[in-house]
């Protein structure tokens, strides 16, 4: 189990990262160097200085159920957690690792000893200084708890040294270590939870992040107030942030248009054109670490058959799906890794659309006459509803009768976590710009999510994943990941459909909303014009 990094998949959007732009002034779209088409109009990057104050209402279709960073993985929780707790390292809008609570870090020549120097002056929201002991406690707790995003690095010791240094020793080289530490689940909390029990602590957590919980209804809205002791001077600009729970993506758009909310967490691709035409709104489209996929429960009687899964892969016209549903905001997928992650290989055989091959595969399977099955999707997501209908029609061509079961997002998560599904449409999001993360949680049986709830287990792939963790960055490591991608595509435990963009929309008064590739936003950089 020394796996590595992982991240999680969540259903949809995940973590929230907030990145800050260090320099401060970006505007919504300004975030990445990527293709960000921003919006329409008004929000062009401004040169005015940020104005402090105000409350930002941020609408999402999901709400936090737990703020325990060590036991959570899905976006509803992750992107609340990352406003409260911060890790030693972080990553920016381009996915580049950057120092965060540690102002410097280095590793020994052999990659076994990692030294982190804490940034001077960092305090918890209580005003207490962050000490090396807090770091030791936090990482040890994560090692103990494990959770869905465990620390996979082969850590043998975590020690405090002096007043500002932490030394972590590994038993063998672990290339993705810095990337792993930059995940939200490696945030720093006060040693001993500040003396309270876990339940109490995670109701009103203490961290170093830009915001602290003000009030929270489990499964409903959560509001934050600014952390007065935040380590970045003058930030956060906002006095408060409210995560408002909204029923579905049509409601998100309606509430944004009517001015009830300032930012919406996700925009259905079909709505992008409408929002862009509204001068009082801005739309941000940035590259993401998200992969939209069909996931099979490989314990299901039909989908346990590799030929059946391959038949489905051949039967799906991914070009058509992307053309009909993305309105130019997504790319056709082939690999389990998105192109924004190093190691992505576009050249693998992804079993793309080929009806004859699909028929041959189903004929070779245990179900040559086809069968009836159920596709599980979360309701309230217009993209998934359309994708499901396409999949239903295309699988009918090879004799597979698909019933679509559309259930509420919270129930959907319960269902797939209990392996109570045959196949589903969902998305996976890497948490780090390293290929180890996504392949670990999707394909390593010890990755924390049982292959993203597919129960996929191919020992050869598992061995390659382990190899990828120890090889230093370079051609050899890249070759290993190419092999992993090809083998996964051939086994087809999941079928990547598309690589969507992160699409968010906001009132034009919202400035400096940095969107991270994992779908989170850095709200400490955000301010409101009056």
């Amino acid at each position: 189990m020394t796996l590595s990094t992982p991240r999680t998949p969540s259903t949809t959007i995940r973590r929230a990262g907030v990145a800050v732009l260090t320099a401060g002034v970006f505007v919504l779209a300004g975030c990445t160097a990527s293709s960000s088409p921003l919006p329409g109009g008004s929000a062009a990057p401004t040169t005015t200085a940020p104005t402090p104050g105000g409350t930002l209402t941020f609408a999402r279709t999901q709400s936090p159920t737990s703020l325990d960073l060590h036991t959570q993985i899905t976006a509803n929780n992750a992107f609340a957690i990352d406003k409260i707790f911060e890790p030693l390292l972080s990553f920016d809008a381009q996915g580049e690792i950057e120092p965060w609570l540690a102002s410097e870090y280095s590793s020994s020549e052999d990659g076994l000893v990692w030294t982190f120097t804490l940034r001077p002056g960092v305090q918890f929201s209580t005003g207490d200084a962050v000490t090396p002991e807090d770091v030791v406690y936090s990482l040890n707790r994560h090692l103990e708890v494990g959770g869905p995003l465990p620390l996979h690095a082969p850590i043998t010791s975590i020690e405090a040294s002096g007043t500002d240094t932490v030394v972590i020793t590994l038993s063998e080289a672990y290339t993705p270590f810095a990337a792993e530490l930059a995940g939200f689940s490696n945030g720093i909390l006060p040693a001993g939870l500040g003396g309270v029990d876990e339940e109490t602590f995670f109701k009103d957590p203490v961290g170093t992040g830009p915001f602290v919980v003000d009030s929270w209804t489990e499964g409903g809205d959560i509001s934050f107030t600014k952390n007065e002791h935040y380590w970045q001077d003058g930030k956060p600009y906002l006095d408060a942030v409210v995560y408002s729970l909204v029923q579905d993506d049509n409601q998100l758009v309606a509430q944004l248009q009517s001015g009830q909310v300032d930012v919406i967490d996700t925009v259905a691709s079909a709505n992008v054109a409408t929002l862009e035409s509204n001068a009082s709104l801005t739309v941000s489209t940035t590259p993401s670490w998200v992969v939209e996929e069909v996931f099979f429960n490989t314990l299901d009687e039909h989908f346990a058959d590799r030929d059946v899964r391959r038949a489905v892969s051949y039967a799906l016209d991914r070009e058509g799906i992307v053309a009909a549903t993305s309105f130019g905001t997504a790319e056709v997928a082939g690999s389990v890794l998105p192109p924004s992650i190093p190691g992505y290989d576009a050249s693998i055989d992804s079993l793309s659309y080929d009806v004859d091959a699909a028929k041959a595969a189903i004929a070779a399977s245990a179900y040559p006459e086809g069968f009836t099955t159920t596709l599980l999707v979360a309701s309230g997501n217009s993209l998934r509803a359309q994708e499901a209908q396409i999949i239903q029609a295309q699988l009918a061509e090879i004799g597979i009768t698909v019933e679509i079961e559309s259930i509420d997002l919270a129930a959907f998560r319960e269902r797939f976590r209990a392996f109570d599904f045959s196949f589903m449409i969902n998305s996976a999001t890497s948490d780090v710009a390293d290929p180890n993360g996504i392949v670990t949680f999707q394909a390593d049986p010890a990755g924390g999510t049982n292959g993203y709830w597919t129960h996929y287990d191919n020992p050869e792939v598992t061995a390659l994943i382990a190899q990828g963790r120890t090889l230093p960055d370079g051609a050899d490591r890249t070759a290993v990941y190419s092999q992993i991608q090809a083998m996964i595509a051939a086994d087809a435990p999941f079928i990547p459909l598309s690589y969507p963009s992160n699409i968010k929309a906001a009132q034009a008064t919202v400035q400096g909303l940095t969107v991270l590739p994992n779908g989170s936003v850095r709200l400490q950089d955000t301010w409101l014009t009056r």
Partner: protein, 299 residues
Amino acid sequence: MTAIGSTQQGPGAQAGTGAAGEVARGAGPLWRRMARTPAFVAGAVITATVVLAALLAPVLATHDPAAQNLLGGLQAPSGEHWLGTDQLGRDIYSRLLYAARTDLRIAGLAVIIPFIVGVLVGTTSGYVGGAYDWVVSRVVDTVVAFPFYVIVVAVVFAVGAGEQGISVALALVGWVTYARVLRATTAVHASSGWVAAARGGGLSHARILVRHILPNTLTQAIVLLMNDIVFVIVAVVTLSYLGLGVQPPTADWGTMISDGQAFVATKWWLSVIPGAAVVWTGIGLSLLGDGIGDVWRVE
């Protein structure tokens, strides 16, 4: 409907004992009354267009309503696709026709059971009275106390989305309306002199109920039925709009409206056309219901 109508007694028959004897009377005058009632005529014509569209969908449709063309989505109306195509490239005109089938079929099925149950329960409760009536009334009051959609959505969640869920949910809720009305009108008749006279003349309770009282109370139930169909169609469309109703790929107006919602600003017809179909059907059935009431109230 004519069959039912012809057995119907006008209120004038109440005074007599022998409503049944007059069954044959009505055809001529009834038809004339119908023709003279504008609401009835308009309602019948409008409803007929919808029913015909539904019945003849396979003939009238130009495309397979479920056939997708992923590269030909969201086309504007044209010679090839009279009302354009939806996001998945399906022909909207053809889907509209098949959706009429779906929605009328579900609505028809979903009102029949509540109608029968409600009429039975209401009539017996109004006639028998006593403890039975008390129990029925409390049950009815309880169901009525819940907001309609709250209880329907809850039932659909429990039973599962789809046609079956809709039918069960609407049946559980829908019968109370009939039961209330029938109970009240039956009670009035049951206490009247002609019923006592009929009993005195040796007629059984069953005969009095079925042959004499029911013909006098059923009119109201039928008027109610027409309005209820409208209501149920709207409910089916609403549930489908919420994703709890008709499941894909079956075409229905609610999912068509819902699917088109994202494009309201740019391709308004996607939602407006199925919406207009719902309105048209609703107007037709409402007028028909009113018309039937008018026709039978004339005397």
